[in-house]
Symmetry: C2
Subunit: 195 residues, 2 copies
Amino acid sequence: MPQGKVTTVPDDGLTTRQRRRQAVLAVHTGHGKGKSTAAFGMALRAWSAGWSIGVFQFVKSEKWRVGEEAAMKALGERVTWHKMGEGWSWIKRAGTERDHAREAAEGWAQIKRDLAAETYRFYVLDEFTYPMKWGWVDVDEVVATLAARPGNQHVVITGRDAAPALIEAADLVTEMTKVKHPMDAGRKGQQGIEW
Amino acid sequence: MPQGKVTTVPDDGLTTRQRRRQAVLAVHTGHGKGKSTAAFGMALRAWSAGWSIGVFQFVKSEKWRVGEEAAMKALGERVTWHKMGEGWSWIKRAGTERDHAREAAEGWAQIKRDLAAETYRFYVLDEFTYPMKWGWVDVDEVVATLAARPGNQHVVITGRDAAPALIEAADLVTEMTKVKHPMDAGRKGQQGIEW
């Protein structure tokens, strides 16, 4: 078991073991690559720990994450994959935005039901910062719901521009920053690498 | 297929399709979480694309990455997992450092053989920045070997303090920065989350 030294020991009345087992809320934000990819890497560890995994995909297109979805599903029935509004697109078209907002709200309602029922042990809320940013779900309600989630449910939320209240509430926050990207050199994404 | 707009079109005589299929050298560096986790997330995509995957684990202890290893191996025989020097430790003890350097050099020699033979389509060189940083493998030789690798082999290298020459040579570089970590609040790592 990897060991680490903590710099502070909280006055919370918990043993190290109890503290170690507290549920984690992680946020991967920033404008670089790897936010969602690292969340799916975490899901591999969760899977190996024997946990049930719920993925909630709030991404731009149903064509994204096809690689992750295929691989995670190949790991078996402990992985459940939710795509919010099949055929969904984040591209805002006149007259259709209302539907996207509704689909995002429905996705969040499902997450709330699953958290209350302790359906999964590990949740990936992929690109969930965007519905928060755009006001399609209420940030304060998300933070309050996550803070009050029962049992030992771990949650990782990905996406750019995470709300300050979410970062404040999170246990683990990593910012991914782009240093260099193939598109800068005129190269588009490719199968196996980008999806 | 996800679309993206490139800001420059290189004068390289290649079609968009040819350019799209160029092999990628990715580097995940910085002091935050998610460097290796994102590399294993990329490996999921590579697996879904039908590619063979070689993982070379230059990590602190053989007890690390057990979750990733179990999950990736569960995906089947297209995944090969190399642990450099079983029982290896980065903890420097008097009189034993020479062995670590040798084991790192042996690991790199194996990678060179595999690149030359095009053994895999996707390589994870996990925590490989450290042997470079410590002079156990030669940075210039690594960069030259990667630049000259044959065929269409994708490589992702993880670890803190990536050498400037490696960053210069890479196509995709992401820096992971710690914003907040549970250990700051006195909480140690736990199974399913940290390993």
